[in-house]
């Protein structure tokens, strides 16, 4: 079965602390994974996709096929990083996305 698991509903860190948002997936094929972010009162927007291997706003995510994980990391959290983060898996050729439940990140001053 295709599934994305984000085990933490809420995550709270202090400004300047490292942050890791966990994402595990279940998929029999070759996975394509994404992180989307939703800031307060804004629409969902793409943050990262694993195939691009780039760093956006200081965030990185590495696909670990052995652990079936795609955790999102940032070494020094900023207050403006406070948002809802969703991990998503591309399931098939039509780009249909399977989503996790999301993690609400709060960065405290």
């Amino acid at each position: 079965a295709q599934r994305v698991t984000q085990p933490e509903k809420l995550l709270s860190v202090f400004k300047g602390a490292p942050v890791e948002l966990k994402c595990n997936y279940s998929y029999s094929g070759s996975p394509e994974l994404f992180w989307y972010v939703q800031y307060s009162r804004q629409r969902l927007q793409l943050l990262l996709r694993h195939i691009s291997r780039e760093s956006i706003k200081g965030f990185t995510a590495d696909l670990n096929k052995g652990e079936t994980s795609f955790h999102l990391k940032k070494p020094f959290a900023q207050e403006e990083d406070s948002a809802m983060y969703y991990c998503a898996l591309n399931a098939g050729n039509n780009r249909k996305l399977i989503w996790g439940l999301g993690t609400s990140l709060g960065v405290n001053p």
Binding site: L44, Q45, R95, K96, L97, W99
Partner: protein
């Protein structure tokens, strides 16, 4: 406009009423997706269009849900005889080829009372 536009932003419907939700994708985008997001949940896939063709409707929860995109641009999601469990945010997304980034609209929040 520059982005995906959805209307209305908010809709309150009485149980049993029919509703129609509109999505204006980014001009020229071939692929269009509808997702349903219940409170506290992640989005769930409903249906996918490539131009005017509905290639996947496996996520539509019942035959009360119907989507169309007759001219390959604007899409409408129709829900007949709404029920309380239909209350959710309905998200529309479009992408240029289906292999590129999907851009999301602000969503329509449907509340069935």
């Amino acid at each position: 406009g520059a982005g995906v536009s959805q209307s209305p932003r908010y809709k309150v419907a009485k149980r049993g009423q029919d509703v129609a939700l509109r999505c204006d994708p980014i001009s020229g985008h071939v692929s269009l997706f509808w997702y349903q997001q219940a409170l506290g949940q992640g989005p769930e896939f409903l249906t996918y269009f490539q131009n005017e063709a509905q290639l996947d409707k496996s996520g539509l929860p019942s035959d009360r849900f119907f989507a169309e995109r007759p001219e390959g641009s604007v899409s409408t999601l129709k829900i007949q005889r709404t029920q309380q469990e239909d209350s959710a945010v309905y998200l529309c997304a479009s992408s240029s080829t289906g292999t590129e980034e999907a851009f999301f609209g602000q969503g329509t929040r449907l509340t069935v009372v």
